[in-house]
Every structure is written in structure tokens, then in C-alpha cells.
């Protein structure tokens, strides 16, 4: 465990854990058009942080509980005919605002708000690492176990019902996984950029992929590259680590999107 004494090694492992868990989950977020859903869940976590500090419990538990509550609320409201786009926008931003206000009430506790908004990957402890990898393995296990059912329910709920799958149960699996990823990712990228770790690698993987499995695999690869490359770049350029990781993922997205549209234009011309 001497290896884990190095803060850079711990940071790299933490980034890797979050990236690997967030990428396949992010694919579902993209396929199901739940981007704002991810935002709302992640932003609610700051309220969880404030509550955890107020009651002196673990940040992870506080964030997990509030994220889960938010995710369940949103999941319950969806499909009931609300204007989801607006509702999610309201929930996402008001959750953040309430969280920030709640944190300001915590007099006496001096907390570094920036660390929770943008992450503090260089301060990851061995204990944090255990939580992050525990959560990541749980999320990946959950997704692998329910993969076929999740995919069918994502494609079309009626097809799922006909195949003996309950799409609502699968939605619950995703909701749970999302809350877990949010809770473990706070330390790494912070609440403001968690949704980016979900969506950007998945979106970057889309032009490279012919099947859902390949998209998930490419998203994991891109997420991992962004996490490790971002960490290295931030060390060298002395930039905040979480945002640097997201920047790198966004650059990969730009490259694959442009490459993808060029390739499809070329194949379109070839077909003609």
C-alpha cells in the first residue's frame, strides 16, 4: 500500500474509478435523454454536503441520500405529463441554490466550497478511494447484471413489457446507479461537472460505435483517457483538475464528432 501514499497515484485511481463507472451509465443518460436528470441529481448533492456537515456525518452518505431523494422525485414525476424540461431545469438549479444557501448557514464550520463545486481530486485519501471504487464496482455490477433489460426498456417500454421486463424497475436501477455515481464523483469533479463526466464521454463515443456495447466500451476508454490525461495536464499547467478532465473529454468529443460527420459524408458520397 506504499504506492497509495503518493497523492498523484491516489488521484489517478480516483479519476479512473469515477470515469469507468460514469461512462456506461452516461450512455443510458444520453440514450434516454436524461441529461437534465443527471444535472438535477448532481446539483442536489451540494445540499447533501451541507446536511452532512451540519449533522457531522460522512459527506458520502449525505450526498448519496439527497441525490437519491432527488433522483427518485424526478423519476417519479417523469411520465406523469409534466413539462419535464422545465421541471428539471427548475429542480436542478434550485437544488444547487438551496444547497449553497444551506452551506452558508453553517457558521463555525469553515469549508472550502470550491472543493465541493469543482472537486478536489488531489486531496483524495485512501479511505475516499475505497468509497469511490466500492461505488464504481457496485454501479458497474448493477449495469452488467441488468444490461439486456435496461437496453430493452430504453429502446421501448412496450417491448420490455412484452418480454416480461418491468421498465419501471429498470428505471429504478438507473436512478440508484446515478445517485451512487454522483456521491462518489463529488470529490473528483465536483457537483457542477459530474453531469459532464456522464454525458461527454458517451457523446464522444457515439460516432465510433455501431452497437450499444461498443459505445459503452469506447465511453469508458475516453473517460479513462480524459481522467488520466486531465490529471497530468492540470499538474503541468497548474489548472484545476476537475475542469481540466472535462475539457479533455470535450476535446475528444470535438474530434470524434467532426471525424464522424466527415466519415458519414464520405460514405454518403461513395453510396451515390
Amino acid at each position: 500500500m506504499i504506492l497509495l501514499d503518493d497523492f498523484m497515484v491516489r488521484a489517478a485511481l480516483a479519476g479512473l474509478g469515477v470515469a469507468l463507472a460514469a461512462a456506461p451509465l452516461g450512455c443510458f443518460v444520453v440514450w434516454r435523454r436524461m441529461a437534465y436528470f443527471g444535472d438535477a441529481t448532481a446539483h442536489a448533492a451540494i445540499l447533501g454536503v451541507a446536511l452532512a456537515l451540519a449533522f457531522s456525518t460522512s459527506i458520502f452518505i449525505g450526498a448519496l441520500a439527497v441525490s437519491l431523494a432527488m433522483a427518485m422525485t424526478v423519476s417519479g414525476l417523469s411520465g406523469r405529463g409534466f413539462a419535464m424540461d422545465t421541471l428539471l431545469g427548475v429542480l436542478a438549479h434550485s437544488a444547487l441554490a438551496f444547497g449553497l444557501v444551506a452551506v452558508s448557514f453553517l457558521s463555525g464550520v469553515r469549508i472550502d466550497l470550491m472543493a465541493y463545486l469543482f472537486g478536489d481530486i488531489l486531496a483524495v485519501s485512501a479511505g475516499d478511494l475505497a468509497v469511490i471504487w466500492g461505488g464504481a464496482v457496485l454501479v458497474l455490477g448493477l449495469l452488467a447484471w441488468r444490461w439486456q433489460a435496461l437496453l430493452t426498456a430504453t429502446l421501448n417500454p412496450d417491448l420490455a413489457y412484452a418480454g416480461g421486463i418491468n421498465p419501471r424497475r429498470e428505471q429504478l436501477v438507473l436512478t440508484l446507479a446515478l445517485a451512487l455515481v454522483v456521491a462518489v464523483a463529488i470529490k473528483v469533479v465536483g457537483v457542477l461537472l459530474i453531469a459532464a463526466m456522464l454525458i461527454v464521454p458517451a457523446a464522444a463515443a457515439r460516432p465510433l460505435s455501431a452497437t450499444p456495447e461498443r459505445m459503452a466500451a469506447f465511453a469508458m476508454l475516453i473517460g479513462a483517457i480524459a481522467a488520466l490525461g486531465g490529471l497530468g495536464a492540470s499538474f503541468r499547467l497548474d489548472t484545476p483538475t476537475g475542469p481540466t478532465i472535462v475539457c479533455l473529454a470535450a476535446l475528444v468529443f470535438a474530434v470524434t464528432s467532426i471525424g464522424g460527420s466527415l466519415a458519414s459524408r464520405r460514405s454518403g458520397r461513395a453510396a451515390r
Partner: protein, 253 residues
Amino acid sequence: MRLIETRNLNLRLGGNLVLEGVNLSIERGEIVTIVGPNGSGKSSLLRAIVGALAPTSGSIIRAPGLRIGYVPQKLHIDPTLPLTVTRFLGLPRRHPAKDLRAALEQAGLPDLRDHQMADLSGGQFQRVLLARALMEKPDLLILDEATQGLDQPGSAAFYRRIEEVRQSLDCAVLMVSHELHVVMSASDRVICLNGHICCEGRPEIVAQAEEYRAIFGTGTQGALALYRHEHNHDHDHDHSADCNHEHPHEAAE
């Protein structure tokens, strides 16, 4: 053998009573078609039978271990979801590669294995949807206006395929269709639905029923005229269906 039965099924959607007191049962091996005007609850009935809509009251009794193959009216695939034809056939359960090849062979689409679902034509898409529903060797095949958007030869070929499937799998087929002339020749039993079951029975009997005429006589005169025409030329019709069947195959090759 009774595959599925609804008992006094009531279904309320958004405050409207969509289905009222529906009693129907499907036996193994029969082809049952539901006809009825727009908004008569045809699709809702199918979705209730599939399990996607819970009855407000009454019950749906499925034979134990019943396997349902469902072909929806339309299927939107989000452009962010990459899906090859082969991968689509493996949902909700994966199948050995040789089964997938055989299924595409039977559907007349052997060359489309690695095509994206989004790139298929309407007719190809419909055939893949059917092939997927058949992967599980269903006891009950449910089709919701499966030939929508197909031209006449295409839909004639599609119904021929349904007939073949019924023979080879010995499954029941429950479908909704607007193409009354095809329905009348291809079904063992017709159920005329308008919120409740107006009348049901063998096609030629339903066609004579007052309730049926009340709906299709005023609602869709064209369809009734078409049906009468077909009815008068029953032999011609079978013949022309044969001829029609060949065209799409030639076109596909």
C-alpha cells in the same frame, strides 16, 4: 388451449374510459383481428394484453409461461443509440449467431445483419420488427397495425408471412388492422371494437352484423366498399395476393 383471456376488462386513460367490459379469449393457432374506428381502444387493448397498461378493473389471465411476441405500431429509435439489426434481434434476450442468421434469412433480409436500424427502409424495418418478435418462438404474436406505411404488395407479403409463421410455430396471432379486405381473408375471427366489443365472429358473419355496418358504413365508406368488392371476388383476391407476394422478393434481391 386458451392462451389469454380478458374478463370484464375496464381501462381508464387520463379520465376517459377507453375500454369497457371487454371479454375476449384467444386460443392457440387462431388468427384474430381487431377492427374499429380511430380512438376505439384497439391499441390500448393490445397494450393491456402485453402488460404495458394495467386494467382499471377486471382481469387479464395469461396461460402460465406464455411467451408474447409484440410488433408495435411504430418504433422510434433515438439517434444517439447505435443499434445494428443483429443486435436489435438480441433484445430482450441474446440468441446464438446461427439463430440470428436463420431469422434474417427467413425474413428475407440476409444481407442486412450489420446495418444500422436507422438506415432501413420502412418495409425492411417492419420485417426486422417481426423477426425480432419471432426470436422467442412466441405462443402469441401481437401485431399493432404492422403494415402501416407498407404498399399493397408489401403488406400482402407481410400477411402471407404471418400465415406461414402461424403454421410453423402453431402460435396464435392477435392483430389490429385497418386493411379490411386483407383482414377479412386472413383472419379466423374478427372482433369489432368501439370501446366495447360490438360484435365478433367469423369474418363473413361480422361483415353482415349491423353493429359492424353501423361503424364502417358511416365512418369509413371506402373501406367497406373495398371489403364488399373483395367479398364478391374471393377467388380473384387469393390469386392476386399470390402474384403480389413475388414482387418484394424480386425487388429485394
